[in-house]
C-alpha cells in the first residue's frame, strides 16, 4: 500500500510525498514506515498507540482511529495534519 506523507513529516522521508510499505494492519504499515524513516511514527502516534490530537489518518476515504485496522495491498493511507495551530 501507499502512505501519503504530509509536508510537516517530509523531513523524515527526504521530501518524498508518497512511500510504499507493506503490512496487514495499520500498526504494521506504520512500523514499516518507521523502520525506513526512524522517528516518524512517534511524531504521529503516542506511546499509548493512539493517534495524536492534531493528526488524522485516513485509509482510502475513511478516517481510522485504531492501529489494529486491517489493510489491503491496494489501500491508500493518508496522514493529515489537522487545520489547527496559530
Amino acid at each position: 500500500m501507499r502512505i501519503h506523507i504530509p509536508g510537516a513529516l517530509r523531513s523524515y522521508t527526504g521530501q518524498q510525498t508518497e512511500v510504499e510499505v507493506e503490512g496487514a494492519t495499520l500498526a504494521q504499515a506504520l512500523d514499516a514506515l518507521d523502520q525506513r524513516f526512524p522517528g516518524i511514527r512517534f511524531r504521529i502516534i503516542t506511546e499509548q498507540d493512539t493517534v495524536r490530537p492534531h493528526i488524522r489518518i485516513f485509509v482510502n476515504d475513511r478516517q481510522k482511529f485504531h492501529l489494529a485496522e486491517l489493510l489491503h495491498d491496494d489501500d491508500e493511507i493518508y496522514i493529515v495534519c489537522a487545520l489547527s495551530g496559530g
Binding site: 522517528g39 506511546e47 489547527s84
Partner: protein, 385 residues
C-alpha cells in the same frame, strides 16, 4: 545556566533562545556589547528549552514539538552547526490494552547531570514526568519511579490543576557536591528532593503558601514556578512560586517567604528566578501582575528586575534602560538567565520576542535582539571552539 559552572569567565557569551516558532543562537563579542543572531533553527517548531552542555561546551540539546506533531529532542554535538533527532525521545510506560496511560505532550526542561557524569542528562516533561539519558540525549528512559508511582500521580493532579498549556516537571537540580542529591519542581505538585540518586523522592514544601482557601498540607496545591540552587553555597536555594518568593537554607526543611519585602504595588509573583553564580546572597526576579485574573504582564506595563543582595531582606528595582511605560510583556520561567562574567551579565527574553541584556548585574539594560517569536527560554554559555 547549569549550577556547577560558577567560575569567573570572560570572552564571548552565547545565548540559546527557545521560542514558540523555532530556536535562535545569539553570540556576543568579548565586550558583550555587540551581538549576532543566527538564522532560525527548526523554524516553526515549538522550542521549550535549549541547553549547552557545560561539560564539553559543544553538545546542545533542544526540546521540541510542533502544533501537530509529537514531542522530540534534537541534539547537536558541534556547537549547533548540525542537528540530529533523538532516536528514542522520552515516553511514558506503555499501558496494557484497556488501561489509560499517560502520553508526553512536550518536553519542557533539560538539565545536564553531574559534572562527573559526562553525557548524561535529565529532562522534565508535560504532563509531569522525569527521564534520563546516558548517551548524550540520543535515547531516553523513565528515571526514578515517580512517573508511575500512585502517590506521585495523585500529587501531580489533573490537567485542570496545571498551567494553561499543560502541567510541567521543571527545575531539575543536581547538587554539585553529590550527584545523588536531586531536586525538582512540579507545576503543580510541589518541590521534591532525593538523596539516593532518584531511587526515592520526598516532598519539600513546608513553609510554602498556597492560594487562599487551599490546604497548604496538600502537595498537589503547590505551584513552584522556578527553583535555583546557589553554586557558591549549594545548601541555599531560592524559588519563585505562584504564591511568592522563597529561600531555604539546608539542612532546614522549611522555606521562608522572602518576597513580602517587595513593594506592595508590584508584589512577589512572577516566573523566573536567577541566582548569582558566586554570591549566594544575591538573586534576581522579574515580577509580573498576579492580581485578579492574573494578567501575566509587567505590573502597570512597567517591566523591571528586582535584585536582593542580602538573601531577600531587601529588594531593589532595576529598570534603567527598560521601557518606562506601556510595555505589556512578561518573562517566562526559563527566559531569564545569567553568564559568569564579572560583573555578571543578565539576560531576559520577553513574551514579545525581545532579548534584554545587562552587563552590570542589572544596573542598566539594553535591548540586544527584537522581532523574535514569543520567547520561551534563554540559556547562556561560553561555547567551546
Amino acid at each position: 545556566m547549569p549550577s556547577s559552572t560558577n567560575a569567573i569567565t570572560s570572552g564571548t557569551v552565547t545565548l540559546f533562545i527557545g521560542t514558540r516558532k523555532g530556536a535562535f543562537i545569539l553570540k556576543s563579542d568579548r565586550t558583550r556589547r555587540t551581538w549576532k543572531l543566527s538564522a532560525p533553527i527548526y523554524l516553526g517548531h515549538i522550542i521549550h528549552h535549549m541547553v549547552c552542555d557545560p561539560r564539553d561546551k559543544r553538545t546542545i540539546l533542544m526540546a521540541a514539538s510542533t502544533g501537530h506533531l509529537g514531542p522530540t529532542i534534537f541534539r547537536s554535538t558541534d556547537g549547533g552547526k548540525t542537528w540530529k533527532e533523538s532516536t528514542a525521545p522520552p515516553t511514558f510506560r506503555k499501558r496494557p490494552e484497556g488501561e489509560k496511560g499517560r502520553t508526553v505532550g512536550h518536553v519542557f526542561w533539560l538539565t545536564p547531570c553531574h559534572a562527573n557524569e559526562p553525557g548524561s542528562w535529565y529532562t522534565g516533561t508535560s504532563p509531569q514526568g522525569l527521564f534520563r539519558s546516558d548517551d548524550g540525549g540520543a535515547t531516553w528512559k523513565p528515571f526514578s519511579s515517580i512517573n508511575d508511582d500512585p502517590q506521585y500521580i495523585e500529587w501531580m493532579g489533573s490537567v485542570q490543576d496545571g498551567t494553561p498549556d499543560g502541567p510541567k516537571l521543571h527545575s531539575i537540580i543536581v547538587d554539585p557536591r553529590d550527584p545523588k542529591h536531586l531536586y525538582f519542581g512540579m507545576s503543580g505538585g510541589g518541590i521534591h528532593e532525593s538523596i539516593d540518586g532518584g531511587k526515592t523522592f520526598a516532598p519539600l514544601i513546608k513553609g510554602m503558601e498556597t492560594v487562599e482557601g487551599f490546604d497548604a498540607s496538600v502537595v498537589t496545591y503547590h505551584d513552584p514556578h522556578c527553583i535555583r540552587l546557589c553554586p557558591s553555597n549549594p545548601d541555599r536555594l531560592y524559588h519563585q512560586n505562584h504564591c511568592g518568593i522563597y529561600r531555604i537554607d539546608r539542612p532546614s526543611t522549611e522555606w521562608v517567604r522572602i518576597g513580602k519585602t517587595m513593594p506592595k504595588k508590584v508584589g512577589d509573583i512572577g516566573f523566573p528566578m536567577v541566582v548569582h553564580p558566586r554570591n549566594a546572597d544575591t538573586a534576581w526576579v522579574f515580577p509580573m501582575d498576579g492580581t485578579t485574573v492574573w494578567p501575566r504582564v509587567s505590573p502597570e506595563g512597567k517591566p523591571a528586575a528586582y535584585v536582593t543582595r542580602n538573601g531577600g531582606t531587601k529588594w531593589i528595582r532595576q529598570d534603567k534602560g527598560l521601557p518606562r511605560s506601556n510595555a505589556w510583556w512578561t518573562v517566562k520561567r526559563q527566559a531569564m538567565t545569567h553568564d559568569t562574567h564579572n560583573p555578571v551579565g543578565l539576560y531576559v527574553g520577553t513574551t514579545q520576542g525581545e532579548i534584554w541584556a545587562s552587563h552590570n548585574e542589572g544596573s542598566t539594560w539594553t535591548c540586544i535582539a527584537k522581532h523574535l517569536p514569543e520567547i520561551y527560554s534563554v540559556e547562556a554559555a561560553a561555547l567551546g571552539r
